[in-house]
Symmetry: C2
Subunit: 346 residues, 2 copies
Amino acid sequence: MEPIRVLQWGLGAMGSGMARLMLEKSGLKIEAVIDGRPDYVGKDLGDVLGVGKSLGVTITNRPEDVLKKEKVDLVILATTSWLSEQMPDLRKVLSAGINCISIAEEMADPYAQSPELARELDELAKKHGVSVLGTGVNPGFVLDLLVVTLTGGNHSVERIEASRVNDLSPYGPTVMKSQGVGTTPEAFRAGVADGSIVGHVGFPESIHMISDALGLGVDRIEQSREPIISKVHRETPHVTVEPGMVAGCAHIGVGYRGDKEVIRLIHPQQIHPQLENQDTGDYIHIYGKPEIHMAVKPEIAGGIATMGIAVNMIPHVVAATPGLKRMIDLPAPAALMGESAYSRHI
Amino acid sequence: MEPIRVLQWGLGAMGSGMARLMLEKSGLKIEAVIDGRPDYVGKDLGDVLGVGKSLGVTITNRPEDVLKKEKVDLVILATTSWLSEQMPDLRKVLSAGINCISIAEEMADPYAQSPELARELDELAKKHGVSVLGTGVNPGFVLDLLVVTLTGGNHSVERIEASRVNDLSPYGPTVMKSQGVGTTPEAFRAGVADGSIVGHVGFPESIHMISDALGLGVDRIEQSREPIISKVHRETPHVTVEPGMVAGCAHIGVGYRGDKEVIRLIHPQQIHPQLENQDTGDYIHIYGKPEIHMAVKPEIAGGIATMGIAVNMIPHVVAATPGLKRMIDLPAPAALMGESAYSRHI
């Protein structure tokens, strides 16, 4: 069986991690790489990844040179969180007749915030006989697909509450800034107001996916971002938080049907939550018949699982019927460990 | 949007529960019912279910009268656990050009134990342009689909261990007998030897599904059934267990690739496990990168979820491409709570 030929577009932390992962997978072959960094262009992928050998794949900043459907079965886009920013590249990939997986958070369910762009993508994919999927650990997995799956045997669902408690300590200064870590409560509120503190990107997408999958009829989504004010000293190589300062962002998204709250998603992101006795973990509570309470402790590792799920979905996307897909539209993701993981679709 | 027209075949505990559930679902309509019980034949479904009104559906024991694709979109088969016993009915349904969902445990993955019958079903379904799925809480959900889904972000999976600890106390004498509850350890071992004590039906199917989805290459499955010898007095309306007697069956299935154990599924079924401080629950442990530990406490309710998942999969099966499907081949199950749960496939 021939390996699936992949074009990796974007070699940031996620993109280069996915490229390394694909090198381990017998059913996948990296055929080309696009990245615009001047110090990457023209170099061999093996040198940039530091794998100690040449891979025979030269990094290019010219998409038109490598987006050729005779050579590539699927593109992984790892360039931005935002749909509008990614649309020009998505149009190029689909118009070239190539399948696509994006880890842009807003691509997890473009119908949530940009139904017109979603319809454009769906039509473009169908016109060219390919499929396009947005995925990642969250949105795309923990607070949506896993929630939906857990309702699979339910006779009824009245209300859903799910939370993901993680530890930002391994991350660098960019993440600290976007979550408000190390600021004062006042500066945090100002940062939320001016858009520099964003919290989690993906609540509208996750809530829309759950509502759509179950038919919960959510017609309004509200979000709140509150500072997590530390009671203790917390510290990472990049930031120091004294008591009274902000250790992170408590971001909540709530979906309503009329006046009734039906979905509540909670994602407090902070450094060292265990210093105040908070266990990191993923928690899902389904209220209905039957009631279901799930815990994954510690939480499913974020960066690792985003790289993993994008790569693991490749055979599903290549095998899918044409169109725009969400994780709720395709078979369950599965770690790619051997032959049948690729061949079972045929 | 027109409701999906369903034929319910089999009105035992599961079948009548599914029929009751379907009456609550706006997107489903029970069009016909097949059951051979002499006291059911010729009666209205509403009378048999005791819903207090006629439903205009007369129960028949003549499949040939109601298996008509102009009238029925999908059949739910709830008649037996065993594939060979169900094959004649499956052939009738598929040959009539009607989609099918079966809750026979062996139908969860017929490739596991009967690859020839599986291929026959796949070809027959494709020939008539319909799809056929086996499902249920287990096999079909807890110890296979949920396991596979949880590996979705993994870079690697070395080994999987999952267990389902439930409480048999609500069940009647048939289940007590098939699990050996209330016997002596000697009688238990004799019952396992002569096949009257079966334990759980579904380990080969669950292990095969996981192995196939991930490509784990399992080439041998071993099962063991041991008596759970009670240390305390346990009692239900149907059985009494004194200390030293058997409270249930500890059934384990292990999948090997060569000499290496890669999947271990554990399902101790007994009455009143909490009397010996065992929490009922579903537990999944993925060893690999990353490591994942999941717990659902208490366990996802068995009978309720089997009825639920069979009904909830109806829109997925109607929308699927033709052929024999397993839960790993279709989108995630989702509780059917409103319009978009049915229409999102179109």
